[in-house]
């Protein structure tokens, strides 16, 4: 800042300052207000590691193994981050109420009442606006991510590249008490009880059930859809990580629900082809 732009100090004209701003400034000078805000920041930083801890929990068995799972984890991460400030503020008020503002124990009601704050227009407006904005952010984020996941699942099939052509793979998933069966209709109806997936190629699932409702959950791929009797549900995924992952049933389906799980093997295209050949299926031409 150069010297010639300095304006000589004058008492500020009170009309230039809206009374509400004045109030906020005065409010910030109160000792408890500052302490609550400091406490909020402290608790916020204490909660911050949660954003990474949650993902660490989800990644224990090799996730994310697909774009979908990455989107899911990103959502969890962002939601954790945006909820921390408001959570920290509420916790700060709870804590400060216990350690900061006055306390009375004893058998008789306190003789001295607290200040009769029936409402506080600025506070209420701030809360409403910020919580609405937050909810709107969550909604918009959710809608965008959902559209993206839908696209990643089965929305990327362009008109000239219908499923059934080379680049994609169709798998019919059938749940029955208490096994999963994976049928590859493009390979002579080859069936398997382990889900073999080719790396980096879109796979589409037709999911159904022979008896009760099951839920096809490819954990590390972030794929989940119910297997309903009498209906076919569809989803899809592109696995982008080699390895062994888990399929679990995520809908109670009777006695041995807990054991209704199997493996996912994500294989290189060559290995996938040779598996198809060895199991008697037609080679992908």
């Amino acid at each position: 800042m150069s010297a010639d732009t300095l304006i000589p100090e004058e008492p500020e004209a009170p009309t230039n300052r809206p009374p509400s701003m004045q109030r906020v400034r005065l409010w910030l000078q109160r000792p408890y207000a500052r302490k609550v805000l400091i406490l909020t920041v402290l608790i916020g930083f204490l909660l911050l590691p949660l954003a990474w801890l949650l993902l660490a929990g989800m990644n224990q068995t090799g996730a994310p193994a697909s774009e979908i799972m990455k989107d899911i984890e990103q959502t969890v991460f962002v939601f954790t981050l945006v909820s921390i400030p408001i959570t920290a503020f509420v916790f700060a008020v709870l804590v400060y109420s216990l350690i900061g503002w006055r306390q009375i124990s004893g058998d008789e009601p306190p003789m001295q009442d607290s200040p009769a704050i029936r409402t506080n227009t600025i506070g209420v407006i701030l809360w409403t606006v910020s919580s609405t904005l937050l909810a709107m952010f969550l909604v918009v984020w959710g809608l965008v991510e959902l559209a993206q996941i839908t696209a990643n699942s089965y929305g990327t099939i362009s008109a000239d590249e219908q499923p059934g052509q080379k680049s994609s793979e169709i798998i019919n998933v059938t749940g029955q008490q208490w096994v999963w069966t994976f049928e590859y209709p493009e390979h002579n109806g080859l069936t398997s009880d382990i889900l073999y997936l080719p790396l980096d190629r879109p796979v589409y699932f037709n999911v159904t059930s022979k008896d009760v409702i099951h839920n096809f959950w490819a954990v590390e791929l972030g794929v989940k859809i119910d297997a309903n009797p009498g209906a076919i549900t569809q989803t899809g995924v592109t696995a982008n990580k080699l390895g062994t992952f888990n399929v679990r049933c995520a809908e109670l389906c009777g006695m041995h629900h807990a054991y209704m799980q199997t493996q996912i093997q994500v294989l290189e295209q060559d290995a996938f082809d040779s598996w198809v050949r060895e199991s008697g299926g037609k080679k992908t031409s």
């Binding site: 009309t15 209420v124 991510e145 989940k224």
Partner: protein, 654 residues
């Protein structure tokens, strides 16, 4: 036409009221009826009905999958016989029959039925007094919650013993189903039943509920429903989780009938109770109690009643349809014959989500109700509290399909349901604002009821934030059906709901029993349970994040650690709850005697004497001011006002 006789009159609250002819002693046939005759009638009729059905059913009767139908028919007959016989035996049909034959209830009859001069016997009868009904609800609910809590301990024991298996898969599944539905029913009732009945009429300055006989009816239907639920444990159990998804439920043993009959009867009980509470609140508030002078707890109960009224019929019909599938071989949910599993899910969750708010709103409201008393300041922004409750009720019916994101029933519907579900965080946020605004600068009188509110708000924040993940379709794609969901809704229903109910019971205990809830034992119990609760369910969140599905008996080794910790936490909860229960029992028997208004509250229910007289108020009260009129003028506000004045003066002189 009846013969004209000299009309007798009776003095009621100072006015002469003509009476219908009195037949026999006051109370008539009700004098001989009580819980004992109810049991005799119920068990007797159940036995007779079961026996006759067994004789009439040809032994060759079987269903499409060649299973014999005889057990189904007999068990259904036994359950129907139990309900009808029990209600007959306890005298539920006396009132309607007297109405049909035109033998109206006299004032003396009504007083007998309200339990006047009956002493403790009135707790065992079809008593119409709302205070008796409230106590009866409290006892039955605690029994039910205790039963469900015991099952929870067994479930956690099984899950903690990862090296072996205590129970068969079938029995384990029936435990989780029964635990779930028993807890849900218990939690639905735990605030609206005891406190809604005992406190609300007094809080609004009424002498009783609008329909006292319906009040007794709703209670005793509830009492009739509970044994049916327990009995199903012995008939093969409810092996399908609390939501009993079809068509898994149609595979289940006959015990499923116990579930279905319980829900059908309980839904009637809830509808009756809701009609009664709503009518009472709408028409019987004291003179001068405008809506802005009505305490927030009354709003909470009213909101729960609205949701109970419109949502429970869907649940009831989902079970009637399931029962028809099972007994009459219809095909509502059987996909082979044109039935749809999604129909069941839709009907079920049309109840299922409002029901969550039926549990949460009353316990939140009771927390908000007691905070001003212990902080000695008014409820912060009463209008926002009301707006929050109204917002939740308005959105409650529009969010059910967020339980069905992953079912594939209508993928396009996920977008609007995600929108409506996430919007609900706004009105719920209002309620949190009201709570922290009331804490703001308050001098806390740290008695047990207020301390429980801290626990409630802490748990509600965690439950609320984790709920945001689940409301979001992409995140739900990972979390749906995992232990994460289980931990989330335990934080909401138990962490916020049950701890809120504990706060409410501790607060109203002196009015209900005339004694204080023992502060020391109660606090130890509460905080032990709270610590155990955090251990159990935070490690359950971890299990869910790792990818453990819910409702499993056995799991991969990677989940062992979080399950061990969770089980240890569960035992701590169990110990804490037992301590709290012992505090309730001991204080009820020999606690410190409380005055009629020990908390120094300004609301109406504390202005009557304790024990509360039969008619609550000898003279009906008139309300002249807003509720929560506590507090002294804010010193800071005075300061601000003077600054404002200074500023205006300066602006004026300039």
């Amino acid at each position: 036409m009846s013969v004209e006789t000299a009309v007798e009159t009776k003095t009621i609250f100072g006015s002469e009221v003509p009476q219908p002819p009195q037949h026999g002693a006051a109370g008539g046939v009700m004098r001989g009826l009580n819980f004992g005759t109810g049991l005799v009638g119920g068990i007797g009729l159940a036995a007779v009905a079961g026996w006759i059905t067994a004789i009439l059913t040809p032994s060759s009767a079987s269903n499409a999958s060649f299973a014999p139908m005889e057990p189904t028919y007999v068990y259904l007959a036994v359950l129907l016989g139990w309900v009808v016989g029990f209600m007959l035996g306890i005298g539920a049909f006396v009132g309607p029959l007297r109405w049909v034959v035109g033998r109206d209830v006299t004032h003396a009859d009504a007083e007998y039925m309200a339990g006047k001069d009956l002493g403790r016997k009135r707790y065992w009868k079809y008593t119409t007094d709302h205070k008796v009904v409230g106590i009866q609800y409290l006892i039955v609910t605690m029994l039910l919650l205790g039963f469900a809590g015991l099952l929870a301990m067994l479930i956690r024991t099984e899950l903690g013993m990862t090296w072996t298996s205590l129970f068969t898969p079938a029995f384990y599944n029936s435990m989780i189903g029964t635990h779930g539905i028993a807890m849900i029913i218990g939690m639905i009732v735990v605030v609206s039943g005891p406190l809604g009945n005992f406190i609300v009429p007094m809080m609004i300055g009424a002498r009783d509920m609008a329909f006292p006989r319906l009040n007794a009816l709703s209670l005793w239907l509830f009492v009739a429903a509970v044994p049916m639920l327990v009995s199903s444990m012995f008939m093969g159990g409810i092996q399908d989780g609390w939501s009993v998804y079809q068509p898994l439920a149609s595979q289940a043993p006959v015990g499923m009938l116990g579930y279905q009959m319980t829900i059908i009867v309980f839904a009637i009980s809830t509808a009756v109770a809701s009609v009664n509470l709503m009518t009472t609140i709408l028409t019987m508030r004291a003179k001068g109690m405008t809506w802005s002078r009505t305490p927030i707890f009354v709003y909470g109960i009213f909101a729960a009643s609205i949701m109970g009224l419109y949502a429970f019929p869907f649940f009831q019909y989902s079970q009637i349809l399931g029962l028809a599938d099972r007994v009459f071989a219809t095909s509502f949910f059987d996909p082979l014959n044109g039935g749809s599993v999604w129909l069941y899910e839709n009907l079920f969750w049309l109840l299922g989500h409002p029901e969550v708010y039926v549990i949460l709103i009353p316990s939140t409201a009771v927390a908000l109700e007691l905070m001003p008393v212990f902080l000695r300041k008014p409820l912060f922004s009463f209008n926002f509290a009301v707006a929050g409750i109204v917002g939740v009720v308005a959105l409650s019916g529009l969010v059910w399909a967020h339980h069905m994101y992953m079912t594939g029933w209508a993928p396009a519907a996920n977008y609007p349901f995600m929108l409506s579900t996430e919007l609900i965080s706004i009105p719920v946020g209002f309620l949190v604002l009201v709570a922290i605004g009331t804490f703001w600068r308050g001098t806390a009188w740290t008695r047990l009821p207020l301390m429980a509110v801290y626990a409630v708000i802490f748990n509600k924040m965690i439950g609320g934030v984790t709920g945001v993940y689940l409301s979001d379709v992409p995140a739900d794609q990972y979390f749906h059906g995992s232990m994460f969901v289980v931990a989330h809704f335990h934080f909401m229903l138990m962490g916020a709901g049950l701890f809120g109910a504990m706060a409410g019971i501790a607060y109203f205990f002196p009015k209900m029993t005339g004694r204080f809830l023992d502060e020391r034992t109660g606090s130890i119990g509460l905080w032990t349970a709270f610590v155990g609760f955090q251990i159990t369910f935070i490690s359950m969140f971890v299990a869910g994040l790792q990818g453990q599905p819910r409702r499993v008996l056995d799991f991969d080794d990677q989940f062992n650690l979080s399950n061990w910790i969770s089980t240890i936490g569960a035992y701590v909860i169990g110990i804490g709850m037992l301590i709290f229960l012992s505090a309730i029992i001991n204080s009820w028997r020999s606690g410190v005697i409380a005055s009629s208004n020990p908390w120094g509250s300004k609301s109406l229910e504390w202005q009557t004497e304790t024990p509360v007289p039969l008619e609550n108020f000898p003279v009906l009260p008139v309300v002249t001011e807003r509720p929560y009129n506590y507090g002294v003028p804010d010193p800071y506000e005075a300061e601000l006002d003077s600054i404002d004045e200074d500023l205006t003066e300066k602006a004026g002189t300039k």
